[in-house]
């Protein structure tokens, strides 16, 4: 793991996109995050975004080959500013990448049975029965800690 380099107020990591570089980078971000006293969730988001950007540099800019990568992190008032730079093949359509379709179109959202789903998800066991006198009994159980 390289030492945390600090130029003025900027934390800089510079290296090659060789085997293991994502782990190195991640350890660097961890150190910087601690030095800057960012919260755990914020550090987690930084790891995610920097990891993805660096992986893209290797995979797309350098087409899986080795290449130079620079990461700069700067804290300015209530903001963490991050810059990931590579010197690989440029492809000007990066901004036009579509969002993956994970959530369905709203028109397809069908809410029949929503109440029942809430009951099942909120409880650990659910049993619907017809009582001998007509009518219903909903028996539910929740394990508590």
């Amino acid at each position: 793991m390289p030492e945390t380099i600090k130029k003025g107020k900027v934390f800089v990591w510079e290296g090659e996109t060789r085997k293991g570089f994502l782990t190195e980078l991640s350890n660097f971000v961890e150190e910087v995050g601690k030095a800057l006293k960012v919260k755990e969730e914020e550090l987690c988001d930084m790891q995610v975004a920097i990891g993805e950007a660096a992986a893209n540099s290797q995979e797309h800019s350098y087409e899986g080959q080795r290449g130079r990568l620079r990461l700069e992190i700067l804290k300015d008032k209530g903001r963490i500013e991050i810059c990931v730079t590579d010197w690989g093949k440029s492809s000007p359509d990066v901004e036009k990448v579509p969002e993956p379709k994970i959530v369905p179109d709203l028109a397809e959202v069908d809410l029949e049975g929503l109440g029942m789903m809430m009951i099942r998800r909120a409880m650990d066991e659910v049993e619907f029965s017809i009582t001998s006198k007509g009518g219903h009994a909903v028996r539910m159980c929740k394990r508590i800690r």
Partner: protein, 111 residues
């Protein structure tokens, strides 16, 4: 349940106070439809005063969302959900359908 309204330059803020259950949700539905009828489709619903939402309340919000987003004319965004409300949205995955903000200013400013 009480509903109040505040007009902003680019959006309408609707503040709901009380429970959003089978009994009260129809009132919110009527209110939203009234706002949409006036051509206001950019709506923020401030839920800071709501500590319980049932499937009926969730349905009204989703149907508002559908109306608002039709023809790309607007959106229903949420603000200030309490931990209990967040739990209810997560239980059914609806946090994925709505843009949600901690602060009313951010929600209003997002349009």
């Amino acid at each position: 349940m009480e509903i109040s309204e505040k007009a902003y330059k680019r959006s309408t803020l609707i503040k709901v106070q009380g429970r959003l259950d089978m009994e009260t949700s129809p009132d919110l539905e009527k209110y939203l439809n009234k706002v949409f009828k006036k051509g206001q489709y950019k709506v923020v619903v401030d839920l800071s005063g709501v500590d319980y939402i049932s499937s009926a309340g969730l349905r009204v919000l989703v149907s508002g969302l559908k109306s608002a987003r039709r023809y790309n004319r607007g959106d229903v965004r949420l603000s200030s959900l309490s931990p209990r409300l967040k739990d209810a949205f997560h239980l059914v995955g609806f946090h994925q359908l709505f843009q949600s903000f901690d602060k009313v200013e951010d929600a209003v400013g997002s349009f």
